[in-house]
């Protein structure tokens, strides 16, 4: 009995292979998008953890200077003499050509065992490692980036975080131009007895506890949260497909359920069969989904890596490793999603009286009660979103505003659509029009899930594209302001730079030094720049807020400008005093926008910079000249000083390069946008196919009363397009609200700067066309089938054979 009953239940799928395919596709896509994003995040997190564990930072205590400055090598010597088992580390940023990397200088002979993450320097290598020629260790990916650059001998090993180089501390001191300096001291876990306290040896030292998380992961949390949110959104959109397909399969098998029950199959066993069947499908679809997700992640990872490097200056491995954890997580989410999507139907079977009517229930029936609840929940969520926007702060609050707003809007959609359709029905005069609107309203409950999915996908598209376009618009404007000089020049030596500036004095309108040092403000790394007092800055610099006569204040040395990132991160106000590297202070006199820069920046007068940082490198400068003369001057300068091509950069080239980086940054977002819209299209298609099977009893009488099959098919087609059009119209304000939340709340929390919002109606038009095309494409197959249906099929409706 049990075997026969199970076979009878499963036979449904062999009779309806299309339905099975829809279900598997829906679940696979949902799982693929979710697990793809999960894989990307897992890969990035693995890179961060690797960085966090580098040199045992996650296990070992460290000694650092209280002011976070470098310390003299003598401190290390004094501590060793006092019996302390410590090992010196020097770190900093090093540039080989255009490639900027993190350099770690270590002493392999004194390193604690916990710090030896990778096998460094054994045998002959050790001799070369500590030799004056040096040996640099890197992972294969970083080594590939250094191809063609002039570097010391390179040894490739696995286990070093991407973007990091390891070398002997002496070599590092040379490369970083930090003679006899060290950044920190790794403290061995076991120390000799009766040591003198370390601060009696060097009073400025503090002990830093081991850190379990890296700075990177804190910095990039928001970016990954963004991606995760996208992954869940796509998963929910995919679940709409699964819900539709499972709903139909249960509806169509309702008579079979009743028959099996009447023949003696217990309700418990029936439910068990149904759950087993669902789990089987979830596992198959889950495996396909995880495999697809892996492909998607592998394709998107290089762009994610570029984004993380561009936005945060963080290096992440660009190659994907198969991790058992996300295979398991992918299967688990597929099973959980299937159970969620089928819970209502399984519950209905559980509650179904044994003699329940066998006629498939019209989905529209029992909808009124659900709609009332839906309206209540939608209003509650939208009000909650408004309240959160008014009274809460922070990144999670931003996502909560976003989530409640999107979900509230999606739930409100069928109710608003029903209102619009009711109004249209009242206005209509012709019988077909009256029927069209009334019938569309009745179909809403069957299609509402797919339309909600479409609303979410379209609103996300409007929101994210508004954000990206606003970002792009602002960024181009910002580049015009920040890159005001026509040419940017780097001298190979300070003497050459001096000579070039002297040579240019009579050949250009102005020569503007671009000198900077790395420093710290509030224990955070910052770049400190010096500017000369020139109209270029007064006319162009993107000041957001400033004290009156700010440029005079800066020129006099009475204040500094800081970038928006530093201003927001440290909650500075205009007029606040800030402590600057080297133990001196200045006043915050202005704030300027600095899009795309992951670190804080301080600008002061050039005189002040040179006075406070005597060993500053004076190599770079900008040249102001009439744009049409820039190319000729660059050529003259190159010829005069025999400069390599890369030492003179044209403003236009620099802008093109910056824009290129910018565009790549948003490739992932654009790809996820398109994928989500694609999943929504499949959801729409699945729901239309589902409805097409259930629509014949409603369409056959109209056909019998004198409408042709092709007229009915066209009406069905326009119904889909019209519903998509209404959904698009409603998606517009939702998308704009989403853009506002992204720009004004999430962006500020995630990246540290706020962007003005620009609207681009041409984009909406394009997206509208795309939305309508999506609906038209989704409708075309079921509609074509209706247009070609045989009269015998329609006549079955009247013969009570269905």
């Amino acid at each position: 009995m049990i075997k026969t009953a199970f076979k009878a239940l499963l036979s449904h799928w062999s009779r309806k292979p299309g339905q099975l395919l829809t279900l598997i596709i829906g679940l696979s896509l949902a799982t693929a998008l979710w697990s793809g994003v999960k894989a990307i995040n897992a890969e990035a997190n693995a890179s961060y953890d690797q960085a966090a564990a580098m040199l045992g930072q996650d296990q070992l205590q460290q000694l650092v200077r209280a002011d976070a400055e470098t310390m003299d090598q003598q401190v290390y010597v004094a501590l060793r003499r006092a019996g302390w088992l410590v090992s010196p580390v020097l770190e900093g940023e090093v540039k080989f050509g255009p490639v900027k990397l993190h350099l770690l200088g270590i002493d392999p002979l004194t390193m604690p065992p916990q710090a030896q993450n990778v096998t460094l320097a054994e045998g002959d290598d050790l001799a070369q490692f500590v030799a004056s020629t040096g040996l640099i260790y890197s992972d294969p990916e970083t080594a590939a980036r250094l191809f063609g650059q002039q570097i010391p001998p390179l040894h490739i090993v696995k286990g070093i975080p991407p973007g990091t180089l390891i070398t002997d501390i002496g070599q590092a001191q040379m490369l970083l131009k930090a003679d006899s300096k060290i950044s920190r001291l790794l403290v061995w876990k076991t120390q000799p007895q009766n040591l003198v306290p370390f601060n009696t040896v060097e009073p400025n030292l503090v002990l830093r506890e081991p850190s379990q998380t890296s700075d990177f992961s804190r910095l990039t949390d928001s970016f990954h949260l963004n991606l995760t949110a996208f992954g869940y959104l796509a998963f929910i959109v995919g679940l709409f497909i699964v819900y539709s397909a499972i709903g139909l399969a249960f509806e169509q098998r309702r008579p079979l359920f009743r028959t099996l029950r009447a023949l003696g199959l217990s309700l418990r066993v029936l439910i068990l069969f149904l759950v087993a069947e669902l789990l089987g499908m979830a596992l198959v679809a889950g495996m396909i989904g995880v495999a697809l997700g892996y492909v998607m992640a592998a394709l998107l990872l290089p762009d994610v890596t570029a984004t993380l490097r561009g936005l945060y200056g963080v290096d992440v491995s660009g190659t994907l490793t198969i991790r058992p954890s996300w295979w398991l997580a992918g299967l688990a989410i597929a099973v959980a999603g299937t159970l969620i999507a089928s819970a209502q139907n399984v519950w209905q079977v559980w509650q179904m009286p044994i003699l329940a009517p066998t006629q498939p229930k019209a989905w529209a029936a029992a909808a009124a009660h659900t709609r009332r609840w839906q309206a209540f929940v939608a209003i509650f969520l939208l009000l909650m979103s408004l309240a959160l926007a008014k009274f809460s702060h922070g990144l999670f609050a931003g996502f909560a505003i976003l989530g409640t707003m999107m979900l509230g809007a999606a739930l409100a959609l069928p109710i608003l659509l029903a209102g619009v359709l009711r109004l249209a029905e009242r206005i209509a005069k012709k019988p077909i029009a009256i029927w069209f609107w009334a019938d569309t309203r009745q179909q809403l409950s069957g299609q509402s899930m797919a339309l909600m999915a479409l609303l979410l996908a379209l609103a996300t598209n409007v929101g994210v594209s508004t954000m990206v376009s606003s970002f792009r618009f602002t960024f181009i404007d910002y580049l015009d302001q920040r890159l005001a000089s026509e040419l940017y020049v780097s001298g190979r030596t300070e003497a050459e730079a001096d000579a070039m500036r002297a040579w240019l004095a009579t050949r250009s309108n102005a020569v503007l030094p671009i000198w900077s040092v790395d420093g710290k403000v509030a224990d955070q790394p910052v770049q400190i720049f010096g500017l000369i007092d020139h109209e270029t800055y007064r006319d162009n610099w993107p000041i957001l807020s400033a004290l009156p006569d700010v440029w005079d204040i800066v020129a006099r040395g009475d204040g500094v400008l800081i970038n928006e990132q530093l201003f927001r991160r440290e909650n500075f106000k205009l007029g606040d005093t800030i402590d600057l590297t080297g133990g001196w202070q200045s006043r915050v006199s202005g704030i300027y926008s600095d899009y795309g820069n992951p670190v804080g920046q301080v600008i002061m007068s050039n005189k002040q910079l040179v006075a406070h940082f005597k060993d500053i490198t004076k190599l770079r400068f900008g040249i102001r000249i009439r744009p049409e003369k820039a190319t000729a001057l660059a050529e003259d300068l190159r010829a005069q000083f025999e400069l390599p091509a890369q030492n003179i950069v044209n403003q236009a080239d620099l802008k093109r390069l910056s824009l290129g980086i910018f565009e790549r940054t948003f490739t992932v977002t654009a790809a996820l946008n398109v994928l989500t819209l694609g999943v929504a299209a499949i959801a729409l298609f699945a729901s239309l196919m589902t409805l097409a099977e259930m629509r014949l009893p409603q369409l056959a009488p109209i056909w019998a009363m004198g409408l042709t099959r092709s007229q009915l098919a066209w009406l069905e087609f326009w119904r889909s397009v019209m519903l998509a059009a209404f959904t698009m119209i409603l998606a517009l304000p939702v998308g704009l609200a989403l853009a506002w939340i992204l720009l004004s709340v999430v962006n500020v929390e995630a990246f540290g700067w706020r962007l003005p919002m620009y609207i681009f109606p041409a984009n909406w038009l394009w997206l509208g066309i795309l939305g309508l095309l999506t609906a038209a494409l989704a409708a075309i197959f079921p509609v074509r089938r209706l247009a070609r249906i045989s009269p015998a099929e329609l006549l079955k409706v009247f013969a009570n054979e269905r």
């Binding site: 019988p431 077909i432 029927w435 019938d439 409603q698 009488p701 409408l707 015998a792 329609l794 009570n800």
Partner: protein, 219 residues
């Protein structure tokens, strides 16, 4: 002559091969007359009604309705003829679930552009539907639904009414009452009627009676 059928043949494909449903059926019907079609289940009564309505095409033979040869018309022309000339009544009532009783009643008449408000009011009164006009089909009993179906069919004043077991889903008392109403209303509308039924008792109430057996007719 309103309707003429000559040598109508119709078969369907089945797993056992072609299934011959109608084999050389011929008969005529004058305007305003009524005809009962009887026979066992599956004898082809419904198929014959569907062919007369232009819902399906015979394999061979000719059907002339209101002067037009149905077999030579394309899909659109047959739909147009159906709209203006034929009224259909089904065992399952097949009302439009998304429209109210009032909109259901007016639907076919408006579609055929012969909506007569006075005649519709008469129908509503005679069929006792005044209190039900704002309701939806799902809110009506079987007898009420069939009264609405009769009203919808006759509101368009079709030349020919085709009724397929119109009381088959109702109990005998309700069925008799509904049939009385239908016959009287068909007469008022001046329409001809072909009714398929299992019941010889009901068939006896119509002008003529045609039996279908093994795809052929006998009087």
């Amino acid at each position: 002559m309103l309707l003429s059928l000559r040598n109508i043949e119709k078969s369907y494909s089945s797993v056992e091969g072609p299934l011959e449903v109608l084999r050389g059926v011929s008969f005529d019907l004058d305007a305003g007359n009524s005809l009962a079609l009887t026979g066992e289940s599956g004898c082809g009564k419904s198929t014959l009604l569907h062919l007369v309505a232009g819902l399906d095409q015979p394999d061979s033979g000719h059907i002339t309705l209101a002067g037009q040869n149905l077999t030579s018309l394309n899909d659109a022309a047959r739909a147009s003829l159906r709209r203006g000339t034929v009224g259909l009544m089904f065992q399952q009532f097949n009302l439009i679930p998304s429209l109210t009783v009032a909109a259901n009643l007016a639907f076919h008449a408006q579609l055929s552009e012969c909506h007569d408000v006075a005649w519709t009011t008469t129908i509503i009164t005679k069929l006792g539907l005044l209190d039900l006009l704002a309701r939806y089909p799902e809110q009506l009993s079987g007898g009420q639904q069939q009264r609405v179906a009769i009203g919808r069919t006759l509101a368009a004043k079709p030349l020919l009414v085709l009724a397929d077991e119109p009381t088959g889903n109702l109990d005998e008392a309700t069925g008799d009452a509904v049939l009385d109403l239908m016959l009287s209303m068909v007469k008022d509308a001046g329409s001809a009627l072909i009714m398929a039924t299992h019941s010889p008792r009901l068939a006896a109430r119509l002008d003529r009676h045609l039996k279908l057996h093994a795809g052929q007719t006998s009087a």
